[in-house]
């Protein structure tokens, strides 16, 4: 489907206008991987809601991104239960190895690192998800192993290899 068609089909899914703005943006994010500016402008025109409304909502909520996401979307749960079991160390390790801070994407576009405030799987903490897959009871040792796994996956997929190419985009 052409981009314009995709956008139209998303807009048509929601008849209740203003109260579905979040849902519309969630569908756009699902379709395009993030919220591209020109798509939001298009949606704003079709629904007849000011673009500034979309912009303020898109930047308010943590789950919306205005930039493309990396190949591997790595989320570390920093909810209380995970925190008291050492989730911060896991974040530190990932930030150090990937050479980016939480909330950033590596220059090569391979990794996006985020912290999430509680995935509700507290008994499995600390918890990391990669592209939606859960890795529970993680510690620094397991984090190092997970990273190794991810790096070889990225390389196999044709992405640039190694931390040498890290650093925020």
């Amino acid at each position: 489907m052409e981009q314009a068609e995709k956008i139209q089909s998303i807009v048509e899914r929601y008849s209740s206008g203003k109260s579905s703005l979040i849902a519309v943006m969630q569908d756009v994010a699902q379709e395009f991987g993030y919220l591209p500016e020109e798509v939001l402008q298009d949606v704003a025109r079709r629904i007849e809601v000011p673009i500034s409304t979309f912009y303020s909502l898109a930047t308010f909520y943590k789950s919306f991104r205005l930039e493309p996401i990396g190949r591997k979307h790595v989320c570390v749960c920093v909810g209380t239960a995970c925190h008291v079991r050492g989730a911060e160390r896991v974040v530190d390790t990932l930030e150090r190895e990937l050479q980016i801070r939480a909330g950033e994407t590596t220059k090569d576009g391979n990794y996006t690192l985020e912290t999430v405030n509680c995935l509700g799987a507290c008994a499995l903490g600390p918890l990391v998800t990669v592209n939606g897959e859960y890795f529970g009871k993680i510690d620094q040792k397991k984090t190092a192993r997970l990273l190794k796994q991810l790096r070889s996956q990225v390389e196999a997929d044709g992405g640039e290899a190694g931390a040498a190419d890290g650093g925020a985009s």
Partner: protein, 202 residues
Amino acid sequence: MARITIDGKSLEFGEELTVLEAARGLKIKIPTLCYNEYMTPYGGCRICLVEAAAGAAPDRRRLIAACSAPAEDGMVVVTDSQRVLEARRFIAELLLSRCPDSEAIRTMAREMGVEPGSQNLDAVGHYLLERAPERRETNCILCGLCVRVCQQIPQRFALSFKDRGIVRTVTPPFEKAAEACVGCGSCAYVCPTRTITVEEAG
């Protein structure tokens, strides 16, 4: 008719009224920053806090924002209790800590007895004005008046908030000049700290 009492003075009213409007009707001054009589109230800056249920037991008294609190029959309000003055000073200190260069905030703070470097700053004031990380990037106090005026008067929606919390800013969409802006200058006009300027863009 309903009746509200502010600082001992009573006002009878029939229509819907906020505590701030009632106070103004009684010629009682309450400081404001994010309030403008031509727009819907916001209740964000908290400088207009006054104490309600002032005559009641301590756990029933509470601070309310005068600009957005509806006046109710039998309400008893004070605008100058110790609790109110402390709260007001705190807000002034927070805003001054955020925008030390703003003339408007400095003046307002001075009126409340808040002066950087002065001897009568308590632990909180001392921290906020002497120890807290220095911030001088902006005089914007995020009162939202510019956003609201653009939405409600020319109704162009050219400005909005970006992000939330301490990193929040006011900006046109995607931080580029807004197509919707018609250059009316309302935003600059209502800004309490003169942070916004309107320029020719050809």
